[in-house]
Each structure stands twice: as structure tokens, then as C-alpha cells.
Symmetry: C2
Subunit: 329 residues, 2 copies
Amino acid sequence: MKSRTTLKKISANLNLSVSTVSRALKDHPDISEETKLKVKELASLLEYEPNTYAINLRTNSSRIFGLVVPAIANTFYDSFISAAEQEARENGFSLMILQSGDDPVLEAENLRLCRANRVAGVMISVAPGSQGEAFKKLEEAAIPVIFFDKVPDSDTYNKVCLADAEAATIAASVIIKYRKKKVLGVFGNPELSITQKRLAAFTRQFEKESPETKLVIRHCFNSNEAQNVASEFCSSNSVDNIFAMSDEILVGVMKALYKLNVSIPSDISVLAISNGFLPGIYKPLITYVETSGFELGKLVMKRMMDYLGGQTFSRSLILPTRLVEGKSL
Amino acid sequence: MKSRTTLKKISANLNLSVSTVSRALKDHPDISEETKLKVKELASLLEYEPNTYAINLRTNSSRIFGLVVPAIANTFYDSFISAAEQEARENGFSLMILQSGDDPVLEAENLRLCRANRVAGVMISVAPGSQGEAFKKLEEAAIPVIFFDKVPDSDTYNKVCLADAEAATIAASVIIKYRKKKVLGVFGNPELSITQKRLAAFTRQFEKESPETKLVIRHCFNSNEAQNVASEFCSSNSVDNIFAMSDEILVGVMKALYKLNVSIPSDISVLAISNGFLPGIYKPLITYVETSGFELGKLVMKRMMDYLGGQTFSRSLILPTRLVEGKSL
DNA sequence: ATCGATATCGCAAACGTTTGCGATAATAAT
DNA sequence: ATTATTATCGCAAACGTTTGCGATATCGAT
């Protein structure tokens, strides 16, 4: 319970002023090598740790980022968070994590928290129906915001996205290459731009390269709905391929297929856009277009660092994607 | 870019002192209702937000918890984090997340960060080979520490654990009930107390209830090793049940079984201790003893709140467990 | 010996809040 | 009318650090 050592305590012990001690500890040229040595010795002896509260107040800044995601318990976001945390630490920052639960109200509250805590920056994947107002306030507070994955439309924002259109185009191409003609595409919340982009690219590719394919699109909001959608459709229609827009949807689709007792890929083939972990645990391995949460996390943090380094003009970065072949097609 | 409104600004506008404004905003009885009203009106008009930096410095406390886990990208820890974040928010706290990567050095560095940021409390699942020194320092700094899941041995600590022994005992009982006689138990890092507890209870139950069972124990450090261990053992030995101590191990075991092309449960049955998500995506559904990361997260946060509320004596809480029947046994 | 340059350090304000205490005025008790 | 009480508010210090500026001393150059 001994009280922490402060600059004042050190200065008193050495008959120096607080300012001299402060400067000595950060190698200010005004201070002689001799006193620097004395100060540093005593500081490490007394295990001096600067008071972050005071530094934050004085410098009006902190070394903590706010990270807002729809959900943490999600194979995509947890790998994103994992990467972001690593990168942040290597740059001397920490991460404050908040989840919105896809609720715009909670999201706004989380952003309020970010402002209250005066974080050094905010990284956010927005909830559906997200209001732009909260972002304006962050802007007013001069807090940099970087959107990722699920982003708003406006061009004035800084964004880092997966190659949504490209991934969906690749997915469609592969399905076409395998000559699938009766395709069920299961997509997520139609209000999200990520869904819209993937859906648009997906259907466009079919229209262009294989207009004769019978393509049916279904939307769902979670894994269970995906299961129901797939289950109902497949039991009353002939299908030779199911496309899952995300990991969450893939899980639902696979549960449906397991229940229907069809074999993959001979009865129905499967293709997904995925983070990569889940496709690997199924048998057969699911072929997927990779959208790496881990890589995205690293890229977003790099963008944030660049921003703090002065590159504040808005940009949209795109993380490239690639096909990973399994045995499901 | 307009500067933030402070107490001083409000007080100047109303010809009041800073202290009066401060007290008015927090309904101090010394202040008249009339001025309270005036102050609050102007405050909300100017969108006053208290400066957290200043409050932290003045009160020498913050509303942020440090949470240290071996890894974020993990179905157990991410559900833990998810629950912890929710509970924290409902109590007006936020979460600073740090991962140790099972590296004691990184873990110590993370704890140093927690001290530097003077978090309100630390929740940690320790890395193997973790040094007690860093915990002592937190104790000296009067920062409450609650250990969870992977905890040190000492009784002087506050801990919240899964019912490790109970879970393993239940698992063994079920395997015995199904009359499995050639069992492969795949366990994790033997240095961790969580492994030791589960292993001890598991083997003891067999010795007690079914000494004739041929029980072989293998250890592994990750999913890939689990796959190799299971693969090698099963291809050269007769096995009728595999027990997986964790989700990570289960994934490896299932990959091995898929490659060996055995059918579950007729050829080899499977039982796991799991968080619950992964067993549900296999076919057949895997029977498992549930150790809920989500529930543990809630319990840990409750314990932390109780601690901050004054219940500082060390305690060891145990989260009960239950069997979830699948079709793998 | 005087002057300007340089090296080294301290003073004091500032960041925005909280809080003990004292000040004033209004009201009630005697 | 005097005193005691209460209601209401302001003063000023404190939290620990950073930083512009001024102070002193040393030293070589003139």
C-alpha cells in the first residue's frame, strides 16, 4: 500500500526541481549527463512509473484506441481483434473493446464512451441502421475514425474494406466454372452495404457469364435463419449449389444440409466467403473465398497509425482476397 | 474543431464558481434547485462532457478494467470477453483487452500496461510458466486481480474457475456408462493447473469405477498436435473412444477422425469438454460437458464488482457444469 | 574587464476536476 | 435584538505532469 513514487518525490530526494527531473527522464538536451544519470538511477530504484492520468490530462491525449464491433464472439471479429491488439501493442497503444450487438442505440452509446474516454482513435464496423450523427461528434472532437468491414456509404470517411465485390465475383466465377445451374445464394442483412456489394457483384457475374443459371437469392439475419432458409428451400426445390455469404451463414447452411442428409458435393455443392477457420473443420473441406479478419485487423491498424502520422485525407483501402480450394465443389 | 466545454466555461457563463457548477451537476444538497436547473440546462445545451482525464487524475481511479487472455481468437475466450464486456458496460466500466499469446514475458508486459494505465481491476487467465512477481506489483498498487480459467495454485488469490474436476469426472462417467474400454484421452499443456485438475479427476474416475478400461493419455499444445496425436495413435491402436479436453483439441481430433475415415460413434465415439459452439456444427453432434465461457465471463465480472464493493477477501468461485448430449457416443 | 554565447536548471502556469473549509446571507430560536 | 442554525455558494488547494520562459553560472572571445 506504499504510495507511488512521483516526480516530486524524486526531485525532493535529489534537491532538484520537478521540471528538471521530468526533462532528465526524457533526455532533454538542457539537462547535464550527470544529473540525468542520478535521476534515472533513483527513478529505477524507486520503480518510478509515470502517472498516465496526469499525462493524459496534460497532453490531452491517451494511448488507447476504441474498437467497436457488432459482436466479439464471432470467428471473423475475434481474429480481427486479435490482430488489432497485436499491432496496437507494438505501436505502444492499447485497445478498448466495445460491442454494439447490431443495435444502433448501443452503438451510439459506445461511441459516446469513446468520446468520454477521449480515445486516440476509433475503429468501427457499423451496425445496420447506424446513425451518422455520432460520427460527426467524434469528428468535432478531432478523434480519428476508421471504418472497416461494415462501413457507411459516404465517401468522406476513412474506410478499410474487404474486397467484397471481388470476393463475390470470384465466388460466382467458381460456381459457374463447375457448371452449377441451380444455385441458392444465402446472403445477410440486405440493409448493409457489405451485403449489397456482395449481392450485386454475385448476380452481375451470373448475368454476364451464365445467364441460363437459375439463381435464387435469400436473405437471413443469423445462423438459425440461414439454416431454416436453406432447409426449406432445398426440401422443395432442386439445388446443385449453395453459396454462403459469410461464416455465420455457412454454419447454418451446413446444419441444414446435415439434417437433409445430402452428400457434399455430389448432391449439393457448397461455396462460402469466409474467414478460413470454419471451412477447415468440415468434411469435406469447404471451398471458400478468403476474407481474412486477421489481415484486415493489421491493415486497419496500419491505416490508423498512418492517420496519426499525418495522412488524414480520407481514403478507402481494399484488402485483396483469394480462393482457397476445398472439396465441397 | 471547437474547443470542448468545461466546467469553467459553464461557470463563466452563469456567473458561478467552478465548484458550484461541479456540485450542481451531481446534485449536491448544498446547491439550490434553481441553480441546479440553470446549470444543467446550459450544460446540456453546450453538450458538456466531463473530462475523463481530469477525473481520473483527481480521483486517482478509472472505469476501465484490464483483461488479459492467452488468445482472443478462441471460441472460449471470445465468448468470455463478450460476456465480460456486456457486464462491464452495464456497470459503467469498459474493457481494455490484452493477449499474452501464452508467453510469460508478454504477459508481464501486459500487466505492466495495466499498472501504467492504472486500471480499476485486472482479470487474467495466466500463461504457462507465469511469474508471480507481476501479480505482487499489482497488489502493491492496490489493483484488484481476479484470476479465471487458467489460474495459479496459491490460495491467497481471488479465482473464478470452471468446475474442472467435476467436468472431467462427468466426462469419465459418461464414457464408462457407455462401456467404452479402450479410451484415448487427449489433454493440453501438462504444466497448466487446468490440465492437471482435469486429468487427475478423469483418471481417478476410471480407476474407481472402471479399472479394467485401457486408458491412454496424450498431451498436446495446439490443434495440429492434437490431430497428429489422435491420428498416429488410432492408426496403430484399437480405440473405441476419444476424449478431448478442450475445443481446440476437439477440432484436431475431429480432423484426424475425418482423415481416418472412421464413423462416429460406431467405430470410435467422441466426448469433449467444450464451450458449446463447435460440438454443434459437427455431424453427428458431439456430446460434451459444457464449460461456458459466456457464463464464466458474467461470473468473473460479478465477482469483480463484489470486490470493488468491499468483498475483498480471497475466494475461489466455481462455475458448475452440465452434460449436453449429442450423438457422438 | 566586459560582453555575448552557451549550458544547466528552476519558476510557475496550465490541463479540468473534486472537495474541505470558510464566507455570506437568510431564517429561526431565544 | 442577539445568537444559533441553515441554505447557498466561492476560495483555493490538490492530483502529477509538461513546457515556455526566465535565471544563474560558466566560459571563451574581445
